[in-house]
């Protein structure tokens, strides 16, 4: 099925390609090596030429149903079988099943004498025989340059090589020819002169004691190809050429949210936690609890039944288990159930690329829904800041493509601005949580901010987070007139506030009581005044009466005295006298 696919012209209308099946190489070359043409693979000693060639054959035989011939000038069949077994290839079985044919060509310069004219027709015969025996579509010649050591007549040799490559093309096989790297040219004996369709250069470089393998497609006639130097590595399952950087940003997204394992943190993130498939950065100074938050996140994922892969670059799995046990987080059950897997490696164990490839491999094997990388900054030791950023980009790309939610922790070193993540990787992240120490009152207290959370409402407030032996708790930090207070200062401040409130309440009660008393007193006073008034009113009435009586008495007496004096008051005082008389009489 796959055999026919590459034969159809590719969309760009370029050459038909022959997929190598080697991870990443087909992406770089836009589909594989030029079909039916020879490709030159050159590089220094020990850079993986033979393995690349062997994998090309094995993948062809196993994945694309294209049998292959390996003509080896350096290693015997037994040696080759043993060597590629380390990559997990069962060459012996493929040979038995007639999928691969190995022809070991031995040339010992000391044993052979040359006399007169000759050609390499026997080599052609052998190769032809091998190809026809198994119906090979792929051929590897490793390393043709051994011929230069074995045969003295270089003119004949060059002529024959030219003929060989022409013959290979006629034969229609896709060939890989390996060659040693030369000093000033690609190969020691200028083989690139004959193989002009595709040239791949391998390189093994040591930088700061860490070795990195690189692959570069120097030339690929008639096709677009990645021209960069791509790191590659030789792992247990073959070669993988790395940057499988997706060129376009077209990850699928989901609105599904997943909990962080810390309810208060969820509520800070709009109440539901992170988006599934997002990348989260957790930065903080040493000892701010990055690993603990990561472990909480992992446990929450495991509790939902999701597979979680925990990359630890600083602590061994057992150490993490023990430490998390101390805060009441039980990770062992999930490890036992196979939901949680740890992968611990020292950053300096191997180069960044190897780390990345190992991570890719682990992720591909375990297929986690949640990945924790603790801490990503450790990997800076294995490469430069730039490389590290590149690596994180690729990792994020890879994980996002798989809808894997990832939590990266990043250690902020002292002296740096807190809002600066190492390797400037924050822009790659969807959410960023900052952990920080507050120092004061002779203590350090941990606080947490959500610096950014793309696509969701999130709290802008500071939270203090407490680590106790039953986990993490987020509490509101005290924010008031005296600034932001945490820890015992926050406790003291709230006690102070409580006391103040109490005092106020007491004061109010006291004033109330006082007012009550005052009112009672006033009321009593009013009572007294009223009774005073009444007394006085009574008095007034009595006085009135006294005055009335007195005036009556007086007038009566005057009248009486008038009568006595016979005054002419009869007429005047007639009626009055009568009435008064009357009253008096009555």
């Amino acid at each position: 099925m796959k055999k026919t696919a590459p034969k159809a012209p590719t969309p760009g209308g370029s050459l038909p390609k022959c997929p190598t099946g080697i991870q990443g190489l087909d992406e770089i070359t836009g589909g594989g090596l030029p079909r039916g043409r020879p490709t030159l693979v050159c590089g220094g000693a020990g850079c993986g030429k033979t393995l690349l060639a062997a994998e090309f054959l094995v993948r062809g035989a196993t994945q694309f149903d294209e049998p292959g011939v390996l003509m080896s000038f350096e290693e015997t069949e037994a040696e080759l079988v043993a060597n590629v077994a380390s990559l997990g290839f069962n060459l012996a079985d493929l040979i038995r099943r007639k999928k691969i044919f190995i022809d070991y060509v031995h040339i010992d310069p000391g044993e052979v004498q040359e006399s007169g004219d000759y050609d390499l027709e026997a080599l052609f015969v052998r190769l032809n025989h091998a190809i026809d025996t198994i119906g090979a579509k792929r051929v590897v010649l490793d390393t043709l340059e051994a011929l230069f050591a074995g045969l003295k007549n270089e003119a004949v040799l060059r002529n024959e090589l030219r003929r060989l490559f022409r013959w290979l093309k006629q034969k229609g096989v896709t060939a890989v020819i390996t060659a040693e790297r030369g000093r000033e040219q690609l190969t020691r004996h200028g083989l690139e002169e004959y193989v002009s369709d595709c040239v791949i250069l391998l390189d093994h470089r040591v930088n700061d004691q860490i070795a990195t393998r690189n692959l570069r497609v120097v030339k690929y006639r008639g096709a677009f190809h990645g021209t960069n130097e791509f790191p590659f590595l030789i792992a247990e399952n073959g070669i993988s050429v790395l940057p499988i950087t997706s060129l376009a940003l077209n990850h699928e997204t989901t609105n599904e949210r997943i909990a962080t394992g810390i309810p208060r943190l969820d509520s800070m993130l709009g109440g539901h936690g992170f988006f599934r498939g997002s990348s989260v950065l957790l930065t903080g100074t040493p000892g701010t609890g990055k690993t603990i938050i990561s472990a909480n996140f992992a446990v929450a994922a495991c509790a939902r039944g999701e597979r979680t892969l925990f990359f630890s670059f600083e602590e061994s799995p057992n150490q993490i288990l023990r430490n998390m046990h101390s805060i009441g987080l039980q990770l062992e059950p999930y490890v036992k159930r196979g939901l949680l897997r740890f992968h611990s490696a020292r950053p300096s164990l191997y180069g960044l690329e190897m780390h990345l490839a190992t991570m890719f491999k682990q992720i591909a094997d375990f297929k986690p829904q949640v990945v924790v990388v603790d801490p990503i900054t450790s990997l800076m030791d294995a490469g430069t800041s730039n490389e590290c950023r590149g690596m994180v980009t690729r990792l994020v790309d890879y994980l996002k493509a798989g809808q894997v939610t990832t939590l990266f922790t990043s250690l902020t070193q002292g002296g740096h601005s807190l809002q600066q993540s190492e390797a400037n990787m924050s822009s790659l992240m969807d959410s960023w949580i900052l952990l920080q120490d507050f120092e004061g009152n002779g203590e350090r207290n941990r606080v947490l901010y959500v610096l950014k959370a793309r696509g969701m409402a999130h709290s802008n407030q500071i939270r203090e987070f407490l680590i106790s032996n039953h986990g993490i708790d987020l509490v509101d930090a005290y924010i008031g007139a005296s600034g932001v207070l945490t820890g015992s200062a926050r406790a003291a401040q709230s006690a102070l506030e409580k006391a103040a409130v109490l005092a106020e309440q007491q004061e109010a009660a006291r004033r109330k009581r006082e007012l009550g008393r005052k009112r009672v007193a006033l009321e009593r006073q009013i009572q007294r005044l009223r009774s005073d008034y009444e007394t006085e009113a009574l008095e007034l009435r009595r006085i009135d009466e006294q005055v009335g009586t007195r005036s009556l008495v007086l007038s009566t007496e005057q009248a009486a005295s008038g009568l006595l004096r016979q005054a002419d008051a009869k007429v005047l005082a007639g009626p009055n006298a009568r009435s008064r008389n009357g009253r008096l009489h009555s």
Binding site: D103, E114, S115, G116, Y118, L120, E121, A122, H129
Partner: protein
């Protein structure tokens, strides 16, 4: 020098059958080079090994699998199977001196 002289005489006088030279000439069909090689080889053997040699011509076009055994790359190739050790000469054997050295023929006569 002593050795050489001793060897030179031995095959001719004592147990000649055991000292028959077995030579293989690998060719690919009837090419001019192969023909030249055969003629040259035959001439040399007649000169130095008369009656003591056997030449087997192997055509790789009909028996390609035989190329692997003697590690044949170049055509034509002469392989001295016996007497041991195995010696290999490639080319059309036009350089007689080299053939004599290569096959150790001189000492044999």
């Amino acid at each position: 020098m002593k050795d050489r002289k001793a060897k030179r005489r031995k095959p001719a006088r004592t147990r000649p059958a055991a000292k028959i030279w077995q030579l293989r000439l690998y060719v690919t069909g009837r090419t001019p080079k192969s023909a030249t090689a055969f003629l040259n080889l035959k001439r040399l053997c007649e000169t130095h090994l008369k009656g003591l040699y056997r030449i087997t011509v192997i055509n790789l076009l009909t028996h390609p699998q035989l190329a692997k055994g003697d590690q044949i790359l170049a055509i034509p190739t002469v392989v001295r199977r016996l007497p041991s050790p195995v010696r290999t000469i490639i080319g059309c054997l036009s350089d007689t001196e080299r053939v004599l050295v290569g096959l150790d023929l001189r000492t044999a006569v």
